[in-house]
Amino acid sequence: MASTTTVTPGRTVRKVQPIPQTRNRLELALWLFMRYSGLALVFLALSHFWMQHVLIGTHEIEFAGTQLRWGITGQPVTVEQVIWRAYYAVMLVLAVTHGINGVRQVAYDYFGHRPAIYKGLMSVIVAVAALISLGGIAALFMGAAASGGEAALR
């Protein structure tokens, strides 16, 4: 702080208290989350995309491949399959939360002035997203259905 008789050359550095209001802290946390999850997703999402959609190619994706990576419902899983499951689980959680918060931001921009609509919209989106991702997670940990392969062979 400026003194009255002498001045320290160079720049003053000051500290402030952490921002106390939880609501505001949430905005900050989400803002940070968007950036860090984004950076993580660069590796996760891009590697997945390149693997599945470019290297293998959508046209080559068969149910059998999924069974191989996830394991099959009710059967023991290999170490490799656990790693695959973890990889997909992390990506799924990050992508969904990142995406949902993204949608929340967009919705707040355009519908924030109508709280009722905004809240309604957000509930629907969150509900649908929760359902889908729960399904996704469950599927991941249950593995692909054993019968699926047969269907593919038919």
Partner: protein
């Protein structure tokens, strides 16, 4: 040279909706767009309404959208945006209610300005020798950029976040807050940062960068916003 001025007109006493009107004007290439608007107002159609005062880019009255971008009409020379025979479009800035022709209601803008405590707070006793508070040149330099702001609103009304949601405090108010947060003599950084951390505060800034591009005073607006965000994040003002 000859140019056409295509101006978005709106008269609240007769019109329901804005409409475009085009005027041919004879100008010098070194004339300002403001001169061309004056030519229309003074020689062709006196009903044209706009704000202006200083005519050299320091009072902040005449921010408007010229050829689709926010500028001060008095600070852009015709030769820099048009050739002989070209048409220049002029519209009011966006995101604030249009009152008449190029005049918008600035009140919401100033309300955001007032909301960030745009004044020095220092409750220490004044220096006993009756003289100035001291400040090192480096500390003074720290906030120099944001002291240039003339509150023209060119930045705020170029910001897509503000277009979407007028409650967003907007870059101009953040610039003003920055000017005080980073002033080593000030003691209210804490309160200002709290105000700016609200949902319609700095986090609404999506780093679109239009503001920096639009600022007629060359202020690094996005950088200033970034520094405020950094202070919020780290709790350190440096």
């Amino acid at each position: 040279m000859k140019i056409n001025l295509k101006i978005k007109r709106f008269n609240p006493e007769t019109d329901k909706k804005p409409h475009w009107e085009t005027y041919a004007v004879e100008v010098e290439p070194t004339d300002r767009v403001l001169d061309a608007l004056h030519d229309v107002k003074w020689n062709q159609d006196g009903t044209l309404a706009l704000r202006r005062s200083c005519a050299h880019g320091v009072c902040g009255s005449d921010a408007m959208r010229i050829n689709g971008r926010n500028m001060l009409a008095c600070k852009v020379l015709i030769q820099n945006i048009a050739k002989d025979g070209d048409t220049i479009t002029v519209e009011p800035i966006l995101g604030l209610p249009v009152v008449k022709d190029l005049i918008v209601d600035m009140e919401p803008f100033f309300a955001h300005y007032r909301a960030v405590m745009p004044y020095l707070v220092n409750n220490d006793p004044l220096p006993a020798n009756g003289r100035e508070r001291l400040q090192s040149p480096a500390d003074r330099e720290r906030y120099d950029d944001t002291t240039k702001c003339i509150l023209c609103a060119a930045c705020t009304t170029s910001c897509p976040s503000f277009w979407a949601r007028g409650e967003y405090v907007g870059p101009a108010a953040i610039v003003q807050a920055h000017r005080f947060i980073f002033d080593s003599r000030d003691q209210a950084a804490q309160q200002r940062l709290e105000i700016l951390s609200a949902q319609d505060g700095v986090w609404r800034c999506r780093t679109a960068f239009n503001c920096t591009e639009a600022c007629p005073r060359g202020i690094q607006v996005t950088k200033a916003i970034g520094e405020v965000k950094e202070a919020l994040r780290t709790g350190v003002i440096r």
